[in-house]
């Protein structure tokens, strides 16, 4: 709430509410279901408030400000933007090869971020749906109820998240919106006490994340037809992989596979992303629709995120996660396209992050002093990272006066837009009954969207219930029914 300047005569008496001067755009996730003449589901559109305004906001700002400012893009994975922006601008300051200390600090920060974001997503947002069933009362499907009925699971979720936040705090300087990663490197390393602090609990974190994978697997097999078919969406897969084919979250080469697991392109340098990916603009959405150029707009869309990454790589370079990936791949024939399999893949990545963090904490480079590099100034930089939700692209042009002249971002939610539409369409086909948006339909759509973990305000704020509107539109454009559910802030 704010007040016009001239009307507040005794402002000191009024209640103060902390407001961020630039508040993030909030809104409902809105789903439009278009029916055909026979009242069958024809098309589904998920509308998401998007970031184009932000790209313009960055233009005209000095480049060194970017890694900090871009964190305001996403309330749940600011670190990914912080790092993708830094990686892009490493090129601009002539230091694409940053120091070992800087790179390892950034990697550690990223593992902490993926771990905490995945933990929130699975335990806080998704586990109530999975444990209590999609049709359980809305009031029941929340973390508080998980805490009541499965106290160990809830506690592990809370503490895994907290551990990830501690990693972020120590590497980035703050739990949220840290500032340590700068173009050309990092401005802090860790000291012995900080390393010792993080070492204390990492064994426990690995055990718990392994337990979470087992839980996902158990749930999956406990109702195989549901898990395999619910909101199923066959698509191509895109992610970074390490040059040797290993799962890679911080820095790698682009690889895409088709829905049968055949490689479409591989080992594509980050700077060539625009040669393999095309971004299309559509009139009814602010969102861009990226697709694999070689396949074209119709069939070139792809999914990103844990489900894509775990199946796109050839192996994971940490033993527990690799063992679990192999078990997961038993379900892939040859690719697992089940929307609910996202959760399982997500938890495998948590195991990987935890194992990586454990291994990294022994590395003396994390305590090094060689923090910043600099070289010949360049006018363009591209940074691609695997954010918790999927591949994230940052691309900048910087003028001689050091101000950003062009900014292009492709966030994972944008890439996943078409798969989400398909997933929702599959749900609508199965659960739409007549000409009404029922509570059940809303619930099932919600579960499908949540598996992708889009960067909607619903994913960030509403624990247990996402602000969502579903509308049913017939062929002449008339809205015949809507159902809305508000955010439920816990």
């Amino acid at each position: 709430m704010s007040f016009a300047l001239e009307t507040a005569s005794h402002p000191e008496n009024l209640k103060r509410i902390a407001i961020d001067p630039v508040s993030r755009v909030e809104g409902h996730g809105k789903v439009t279901i278009l029916l055909d003449d026979n009242n069958h589901v024809h098309q589904v559109r998920l509308h998401i408030v998007e970031f184009r305004g932000f790209e313009r906001f960055i233009q005209g700002r000095p480049y060194w400000e970017v890694p900090v400012v871009v964190q305001r893009l996403c309330g749940i994975c600011p670190v990914s933007h912080h790092l993708a922006g830094s990686k892009a601008l490493d090129w601009v300051v002539g230091a694409p090869q940053i120091s070992p200390t800087a790179e390892k600090m950034r990697r550690l920060m990223h593992f902490g971020q993926v771990l905490q974001s995945h933990a929130v997503h699975f335990f806080h947002l998704a586990s109530p749906d999975l444990l209590f069933g999609f049709d359980a009362e809305v009031g029941k499907r929340n973390i508080l109820n998980v805490a009541a009925e499965y106290p160990d699971i809830a506690r592990q979720g809370v503490l895994l998240r907290k551990y990830g936040q501690e990693v972020i705090r120590l590497t980035a300087g703050k739990k949220v919106h840290g500032i340590s990663s700068v173009p050309g490197g990092i401005h802090k390393s860790l000291n012995k006490e900080e390393i010792a602090f993080l070492k204390q609990d990492i064994g426990q974190m690995i055990d718990w994340s392994v337990g979470a994978v087992e839980l996902c697997k158990r749930l999956y097999y406990s109702n195989l037809p549901l898990y395999e078919n619910f909101a199923r969406c066959e698509s191509n897969l895109l992610s970074l992989v390490r040059p040797d084919g290993a799962l890679e979250l911080y820095d790698g080469l682009l690889r895409a596979r088709d829905s049968k697991r055949k490689i479409i392109f591989d080992k594509v340098d980050n700077r060539d992303y625009h040669k393999v990916i095309t971004e299309e603009v559509k009139s009814w959405s602010y969102m861009k629709f990226p697709h694999i150029t070689a396949l074209g707009r119709e069939i070139g869309w792809y999914k990103v995120g844990p489900l894509a990454r775990v199946q796109n790589c050839d192996f994971i370079d940490t033993p527990l996660a690799e063992e679990m990936r192999q078990q997961f791949m038993d379900t892939a024939k040859p690719v697992n396209h089940a929307t609910l399999a996202y959760h399982w893949a997500r938890m495998i990545e948590v195991v990987h992050c935890a194992e990586k963090i454990r291994d990294m904490l022994d590395d003396p480079d994390l305590q090094g002093n060689d923090l910043l590099r600099q070289g010949k100034r360049a006018s363009e930089g591209i940074g691609i990272i695997e954010a918790p939700r999927g591949t994230l692209f940052h691309h900048y042009h910087v003028g001689d006066d050091d101000l950003v002249t062009m900014c292009n971002l492709i966030v994972s939610t944008t890439s996943n837009n078409q798969p989400m539409n398909e997933a929702i369409r599959s749900v609508a086909r199965e659960y739409l009954d007549g000409e009404r948006v029922t509570e059940g339909l809303l619930n099932h759509i919600e579960v499908a969207i949540r598996a992708y973990d889009p960067c909607l305000s619903c994913a960030t704020h509403a624990l247990g219930q996402m602000p969502l509107q579903v509308e049913l539109v017939n062929t002449d454009g008339t809205v015949i029914d809507t159902r809305t559910r508000g955010a439920d802030f816990i």
């Binding site: 704010s2 000191e12 103060r16 001067p21 400000e65 340590s180 802090k188 101000l403």
Partner: protein, 262 residues
């Protein structure tokens, strides 16, 4: 103002050897929030309080320059009247109130007005942790901007190779104007326009900083209390926890820096 005002007057007190000068005069006192403060003749309330280790919030005042008396953060109640401490001479027997809920509430309101009048976006600003405006907001427990933002349309001047100006954050304190004129002898900055149209302008044919003889070593390049005049390529190079106001409030920093400059 009042006849006590010395605004725009040359620097009021600068005894070459403060110790001797003090001894030469007999000690005179006024009271600040009920406690006595000694002053020498010509000293302002702010100067005397600062010398005595007592903090009065202020923003546009700077010990090296004559008072500007524009921000009004330093306003105190002296014998029942509201006066700017930075530009009012101390007087024997004056009863000054400063650290009261009423005055701090007014100061908070002034800060809120400054915040909404410009585009002060602390989380994305590299001056965060070094910024006097932000530090004062913390000091005075301002928790939100309270008023509707003006969102003025202001620009950035990045034409100079080493320094850039983000006009979004200028609070019109004229410290750069004073420093460039009085110390650097360059007259690079001025305030122009009135009221809401007031803005900082640059003295060059193009109006661009790059077309002046400004240098990063100038006093004016190193005095801006907010994030308006900044060295390029520095950005967020200081970790959180190591920035000036991270651990120490401005009330302490401001007294200590005066101590250090003596």
């Amino acid at each position: 103002m009042t006849n006590e005002s010395v605004a725009k007057a040359p620097k009021s007190t600068a005894p070459s050897a403060p110790g001797e000068a003090l001894q030469a005069r007999e000690t005179r006192l006024f009271s600040l929030d009920g406690k006595p403060v000694a002053f020498t003749s010509g000293q302002t309330i702010l100067e005397a309080a600062t010398a005595a280790g007592r903090y009065i919030p202020h923003l546009c005042a700077h010990p090296d320059f004559p008072p500007h008396s524009s921000c009004k953060l330093c306003v105190v109640k002296a014998n029942g009247r509201y006066l700017s401490a930075c530009s009012t001479r101390a007087r024997e027997g004056l009863e000054v109130e400063s650290n009261t809920p009423e005055l701090n509430g007014r100061r908070r309101t002034l800060l809120q007005m400054i915040f909404v009048e410009g585009n002060h976006y602390c989380p994305g600003c590299e001056k965060s942790g070094f910024c006097d405006l932000q530090a004062l907001a913390y000091q005075l427990e301002m928790q939100n901007p309270h008023f509707s933002h003006f969102w003025p349309d202001r620009t950035v001047d990045a034409s100079h190779p080493d320094v850039f100006i983000d006009f979004n954050r200028c609070i019109f304190c004229e410290l750069c104007v004073r420093a460039s004129r009085d110390v650097d002898g360059k007259h690079i900055f001025a305030l122009t326009g009135r009221g809401i149209k007031k803005h900082l302008c640059i003295n060059s044919r193009t109006g661009k900083l790059g077309d002046t003889d400004f240098s990063a070593a100038d006093r004016a390049a190193n005095i801006c209390p907010v994030g308006a005049i900044l060295k390029k390529h520095v950005g967020f190079s200081t970790p959180i926890g190591k920035r000036t106001y991270d651990a120490t409030p401005i009330s302490v920093v401001s007294l200590a820096s005066l101590e250090a400059s003596k």
